[in-house]
Structure formats: C-alpha cells, structure tokens
C-alpha cells in the first residue's frame, strides 16, 4: 500500500530509525547508504560522540554516535544496529549509528507539524525540527544540520 502510493509534490520520504525507545525520521535525500556495524577505528582527542572512522569501500568516513550526541545513554551494539551514511554539503560524508532501521515512510506536509522548542531546556529534543504522524505513530524528524553541528556539544 505504501509502495503504491504516488508521492505527492509536497510528500517527503523519510527513513524511520529507532534510537532507544523513540522513533526518528531522517530525510531520505541526505542518505547515501545504510550499512551494518563494522569495526570502528578510534580517533584520539575528539569529542566523545565521535566514535572514530570506518572504511567504506576505500573511503575513510567519520562515524558518530547519534545517542551520545543527543545525550542518550551509550549505544548498545546489537544485531539490528546500523550505520547510516549521510551526505551533507556542509559536513561532507558522515556516518551515524542507530539502533535499528525500521521502514521508509512518505509524509505529506499536512502530516508534518513544525515544532519550535526552547532549545535551552529540552536537551536532546532540540535536534528535532518537526513531528510527523504516520499510521497513529509519531516520528520525530531530525534536523541533520543541527545534529551534526559541533558546538551543540558545549
């Protein structure tokens, strides 16, 4: 059913991932690749959330922990853990570790509600710029530029 639906002009596709108990949506246009967990080489003297670098088909790609960046508890690497490779103009290619990749959803603009938090008091939530509704579930849509921005860690 989802697959058959014609994507409307204002419909945006999101990949739904799980971090802890919550579901987050990542705009598909920034996603280059999704890979299984692999050995990460630690890089010294970098913020804690930067887990290190991996080899993705001959390229060295930095990997960060979305959990640590969002002030959630340290990752537990399980069989469902994945690294999502993001490609952003501003930051280049970066991988983020998520607990599970669930599905791809298409959200029309009427199903997306913009949120504006007072970023000072809601830690962790300030990486979310909107909430999407899909089949009775709520999906927090990540603002990747904010997530990847470095000074948030201060």
């Amino acid at each position: 059913m989802d697959e058959l639906r014609v994507v409307g002009s204002d419909g945006v596709q999101y990949i739904v991932v799980r971090l802890g108990e919550e579901q987050y949506g990542i705009d598909i246009k920034y996603i280059d690749n999704i890979i299984r967990m692999q050995g990460i080489t630690r890089v010294p003297k970098v913020p804690e959330y930067l887990k290190g670098v991996i080899n993705l088909r001959g390229e060295v790609i930095p990997v960060m922990s979305a959990r640590l960046k969002m002030f959630l508890p340290e990752d537990e690497i399980t069989r469902t853990s994945r690294i999502i490779i993001l490609k952003l103009e501003q930051h280049g290619t970066v991988g983020i570790i998520v607990d599970e990749v669930k599905e791809v959803v298409t959200l029309d603009s009427e199903h997306i509600e913009k949120v504006s938090y007072d970023s000072a008091n809601t830690e962790g939530a300030n990486f979310v710029n909107a909430i999407g509704k899909h089949d009775e579930q709520l999906i927090s849509l990540l603002d990747l530029n904010l997530l990847l921005q470095e000074k948030e860690n201060a």
């Binding site: 890089v43 010294p44 003297k45 991996i54 060295v60 290619t93």
Partner: protein, 691 residues
C-alpha cells in the same frame, strides 16, 4: 567561428612561450651577440603571434607582430641590442602577460592597445640606420620572410632537381607554367582552411607542382599571410586566379606565366635521398604526396630547430583518478599479502610467488604514476631571474641570481603551490638580506650581491635552499622588535637561544624592515611562507650568520599520496609512522630512563633524547607492564630528535594516505588515515607534530 575549445591550450602555450621569451631575453641581455638566442626569441614571438591571430586576439597579435619585426631585424644584424631595448621588450612581455591573464579570466584580451610600446618598438625599428652592416645573404632571407612585400614571390621558391624535371617535362608537353602568390586577409582566423580551399580551387584546372611554404606547413598554419604556388595547366592564368579569388577571406592573388630561366633552381641543395623518381606521371599523384619531398628538404635545411618534446597534456583530474585506482590496487595487494601471511600452510609456493610478483608490479606502477605527476620545478623558478633583474633596478642594488637544480622534480600539486613562498623568500633576500653598495664595500664584499636558489633531492624529500650573501639576520634586532611588539616577555627573551629568536620571524605580522617598501616589509611574509609550506607537509628552517648572509631551507615530501611507513601497535591499536621521519628503532630498558626537568629522557650514543609515551598522547592504556623493556622509535625533525614509546612493531608497509574527512577536526599529530590489507582503518601519526 568558435575557438573557445582551444582557449585552454592557447593559454597554456602562450604562457610557455612568454616564459621562454623572458628567459631568452634575459640571456640576450647578458650575451647580445648569441644568434641562437635571437633565433629562439624570434621563433617564440612568431608562434605567439600566430596563435594570437588564430584566436582572434588582435591587440596581442599586433604587439607581438611589432616585437617580431624588431627581433627579425636583430636577427638580420640590422639592429644592435641595447639595454634600453631590453627594457622595452620586457615591458612588452608584461603587456602580453596581461593580455593572457585577461583572456584567462574572461576569454577577452581587454582593451589596452599598449600603443606607447608599439611606438617604442617602431622607434627602435626606424633607428636601425647606424647598425652594423648586414650580411647580404641574410638580407635576402629577410626579404623572403617578410610579410609585407607583394611582389612575385614564387620567383624566390627554391626548386630541387626533381621538381625542375617535372616542370621541364610539362613545358615539353605544351602545358604552361604559372606562378601564383596568394595573400590571405589579415583578419582571417582559419588561414590553413582558406589555403586548403585555394589549393582545391587551383587544382580544378591545374596541377600544383611546388608550394612555398610546403603543403604540410600550410596545413599546420606555419605561414604568414601569403603563400606561393607553381602550377602547370592548360588553362589561362586569369581563370586560375579567378578560381582562387573566389575563396573568401583572400586578399589578393597574383599570377603570371613562368619562364624557366627566371627560377632559381637549387641544384646544389641536397636533394632528399628518398625523393621519388619524379617523371611526368607524378603530376597525377595526390598533391600532398608531391609536396612531401619538399617538406623534407625544408626540414633538413633548418637543422638548428630544437627537438619538440613528445608530450601530451593531461587534465590533472584524470591523473588523480589514475592515482586513486593505483591506490586501490595497492590496498587490494596489501590485503592479499595479509591473507597469505595469515596461514601459510594452505598456500602453495606458487601463490606466494605470484603475490610477490604482484607486489613488484604495483610498486612499479605506483612509481610510474607518481613520475607522471612529477614536474620539474623549472616551470616555477624560471620566472625568478627576471624578477631579480627587476628588483635590482627597483631597489638600486646590484644583484645576481644563481640557480641550480632546476630539473629537480616534485609532485605537480606541490610545484603549483611552491612558487609564492619561494618568491617571498627571494624578495626578502633582495630587499632585507643584501646590503646597499656602500655597506658592501665597507665589508669588503663584491659590489654585486649574490642570491642563490638551489634545489636537490634528499631521500624522500626535496630540499630547496634560498639564500644570499647579505647581512644575515640580526638576532638583537629581532629580539628588540619582538619585545616591542609584546610577542615575548623580557624574561623569555633572556632565556631564548638565537635559533628560537630567529624562529620568531615566522610569527604572523612580524617584519623587521624599518621602511615598508613595495617589495617586502608589510609583515605578511614569513608566516604565510611557513603555513603554506606546512600545508604541503613540508618544513622550513633558516640558517643565518650576521654579516655573512642567511639561507632558508625548505624541505618538501616527494609525494603526498602514497608513503612508506612503519606500522606500530599502541594499546592494541594500529598506527602508521612515516618512514621518512624515522631514524632508528631502539630496545630500551626502563632502567635507562632518566628524568630531566620532570621529563623522561634517554641517553643514546652521546645525545639526550626526550621520550614521548604514545599511549599517553593517544589516551589509551599500554598493554605492556612498566618494567618490561620498551620499543622506542627514534624520530627526527630537522636537528631535533624524540623517542616514541610504542608497544609493538609490526613492520614496514606502503600505505595510501586518506583524509579523515572534513567532519573530524583532527588533532595536530594525526596527519590522516590509511586502509590496511584487512580493510581496517589505521591512523597515521605525524611525528613532526609530536616533537
């Protein structure tokens, strides 16, 4: 006519010719009588003019044309080279340079006519009266070369025996011989194409026997505005002229019947050995074939022509992608090596043999690709003699630049970047380094100051030294300046060695020149030099002796992409250290460690070397117990040394340097990462940053 696709080639070649002209005119200044130099200048100016004309850059063409006229007169001995003339010629080159850079930016040459330069050139031409008496045969040559004459130029075509035979045979058959001289319009862009059309038109009712310049040269646009033909035909001469005139962009066609006696048949000239036995039947052959012997003869007559380099211009991106592929291949090879070493029992000897073979092939392939990327630093340093000459005039100091090792090769990317820093250092030497003539005389030095630039290869590095025999660095002056600027405190100043003080010069906004000249002294110099060189993974140091001069030593890595490294293990993690910075590897027992000023040092063969425990630097637990003997890698940077304490040695490996990506602001001592044979990523330690 769209010529934009040739623009890049045009710019490249123009720059080459301009550089060549610069060098040769400098030579001419020091040796005004060298005919080789004049010939070379003439050729370069001529090609430049032709190219500018083809591309439709009129102003550039006009200027080069007038320059060429001057060179032509110099070549013929009608004008004697004078210093004033050299200055004007250099100004012309600067103007041409400006045209080229305008073209580079906007594909347009700009609107500067440089009329004053043209006037000056013409003034030189007109003042030739008092020049030495020209040799008569040279004058004749000039007549043949000159584009302005409009006479019956076919009369000056030199014929060889075979061509003469053909002509005589044709006359015997009752055909008529005509000479034609065709002049192409000055505005014509595609001279060769027009000439080709003329050939076609003429061939409709006649046969071309000789063309001057030869057909091949005409095809290559190696002619001025006119060319001459000798044809046999049954038709009237005016019909042939009419046919040729129908081709567009042809200014004039001159034609007349030829009397064989008028022709100067160059029988004494060497006829090419393989010249076909040209009989009347040759008349029906294709025109290109017929003119081929003439072309060959032409070549033999100009033996002085330098052999053209057999080169292909390749986009640097294509080379980069080739380099990446080689890198991938090396990684794949490394992984084969690591598989084979994991359990040797499973593999036959042949397998290992093949792997070794593959290893040697990839190493050679890598070297070849690297070599392709290597260019001599010549392309950068060639412009310096001219710069020093100009500086010498501007500063009113006599100086001479001595260069050696211009053929030293460096990676293309490095060569592109190294020009500015070197120029800075040379300017510094000329402005600050060399003393004024009076001071030099007082110190008993020759009046002319020497500046030198030496380049040579030293192991995996290329060293470029820039120095002068001038004043040297005045340590006290630097110290006072630093105090004045607040860069150091008086206590610090008291404890600093001379070397440390000299290093202060590399601080941003530090200039000791009392007066700011437009040559140097704005205080934006040496720190930029240093950061630029460090960006290229190089280093710069300075040696100086007050009153005797100073030398700046730049050390650059040969390549930036693939290096030989030593793989080590620290706290269970693998790291690579560039082999270039490693001196020795020592086995040190903990009891040998001494403490000096709270720092651990070891005493090794007479030198005290500070120890750096890598596990501490890298925030990781060492896997070794503290009383075990330690592996210490001794690294050097300049004349400083340090011992890096590691847990385990793996061995030497060729590694491909990869960037960590822009997301990780890597710390200073990690210079990148590499991918090991098993796909694992290992970080590369920059030993220089650790010391």
């Amino acid at each position: 006519m769209d010529v934009s696709q040739y623009l890049e080639i045009f710019i490249d070649e123009s720059n080459e010719h301009l550089q060549n002209l610069n060098t040769q005119i400098l030579n001419l200044e020091s040796d005004p009588n060298s005919s080789d130099t004049v010939n070379e200048i003439f050729r370069a100016a001529h090609s430049l003019k032709g190219m500018a004309g083809t591309m439709g850059y009129k102003r550039m063409q006009t200027l080069t044309h007038d320059m060429e006229n001057v060179f032509s007169e110099v070549r013929n001995g009608n004008i004697v080279v004078q210093p004033g003339m050299i200055d004007i010629l250099f100004q012309c080159l600067d103007a041409l340079d400006e045209y080229v850079s305008n073209i580079k930016e906007s594909a347009d040459e700009g609107t500067n006519d440089n009329q004053h330069l043209i006037d000056q050139l013409n003034a030189i031409l007109n003042s030739k009266g008092g020049a030495a008496a020209p040799a008569p045969e040279k004058k004749e040559e000039a007549k043949a070369d000159s584009a302005s004459g409009d006479g019956k130029k076919w009369l000056s075509i030199a014929l060889d025996g075979a061509q003469k035979d053909v002509m005589e045979e044709a006359v015997r058959q009752g055909k008529k011989l005509y000479g034609l001289t065709i002049t192409v319009q000055e505005s014509c862009i595609l001279k060769a194409a027009r000439a080709f059309l003329v050939f076609k038109a003429v061939e409709e009712n006649s046969e071309i026997i000789v063309s001057n310049p030869p057909a091949q040269d005409i095809e290559d646009e190696k002619f001025e505005r006119d060319f001459s033909l000798i044809v046999v035909s049954d038709a009237e001469v005016k019909d042939i002229i009419k046919a040729a005139e129908n081709v567009s962009e042809i200014e004039s066609v001159l034609g007349d019947i030829i009397d064989m006696k008028e022709m100067n048949i160059a029988e004494e000239k060497k006829v090419v050995k393989e010249a076909p036995v040209a009989t009347a039947t040759a008349v029906s052959e294709a025109p290109a074939e017929r003119t081929a012997p003439a072309a060959k003869a032409e070549k033999k007559q100009t033996p002085g022509k330098p052999v053209v380099n057999r080169t292909v211009r390749v986009d640097i991106e294509k080379l980069d992608s080739l380099m990446n592929l080689v890198s991938e291949l090396i990684i794949a090879k490394n992984s084969l090596v690591s598989i084979s070493s994991q359990d040797e029992t499973q593999h036959s000897g042949a397998f290992n043999e093949q792997i070794e073979y593959l290893e040697s092939v990839t190493t050679n392939l890598h070297e070849s690709v690297m070599k392709v990327r290597m260019v001599p630093i010549e392309s950068v340093v060639n412009k310096f003699p001219r710069m020093i000459r100009d500086l010498s005039k501007k500063l009113g100091k006599k100086m001479e630049l001595y260069m050696s090792g211009e053929d030293t090769e460096l990676d293309r990317t490095v060569v592109d970047e190294i020009g500015d820093p070197l120029m800075h250092l040379l300017r510094n030497s000329a402005d600050h380094g060399l003393e004024s003539a009076e001071v030099r005389a007082q110190r008993g030095k020759p009046e002319t100051g020497s500046i030198f630039l030496n380049a040579y290869q030293d192991g995996n590095n290329v060293v470029i030294e820039v120095g002068d025999d001038g004043n040297g660095i005045d340590v006290e002056k630097v110290k006072n300046k630093a105090l004045e600027r607040g860069a150091i405190t008086p206590e610090q100043a008291a404890n600093m060695s001379d070397k440390e003080i000299i290093d202060l010069l590399f601080l941003p906004s530090f200039s000791t020149a009392k007066a700011v000249t437009d040559v140097s002294g704005r205080g934006v110099g040496l720190d930029v030099v240093k950061s630029k060189i460090e960006a290229l993974s190089g280093e710069v140091e300075v040696k100086s002796k007050l009153g005797e001069g100073s030398t700046w030593i730049i050390r650059l890595p040969l390549t930036l992409a693939i290096i030989q490294s030593l793989m080590v293990v620290v706290g269970g993690e693998k790291y690579a250290i560039s082999l270039g910075s490693i001196q020795t590897i020592e086995d040190i027992h903990p009891s040998e460690i001494k403490t000096v000023q709270n720092k651990e040092v070891i005493h090794l063969r007479g030198t005290v070397i500070p120890l750096i425990r890598l596990n501490e630097v890298l925030d990781i637990e060492s896997t070794k117990s503290p009383d075990e003997s330690m592996e210490v890698v001794i690294v050097k940077k300049g004349d400083k040394q340090a011992g890096l304490v590691i847990d385990e040695l793996i061995g030497q490996q060729e590694i491909v340097i990869k960037s960590l990506g822009k997301y990780i602001k890597q710390c200073k001592f990690i210079s990148g990462a590499t991918i090991l044979g098993d796909g694992e990523v290992a970080l590369i330690l920059d030993a220089n940053a650790l010391i």
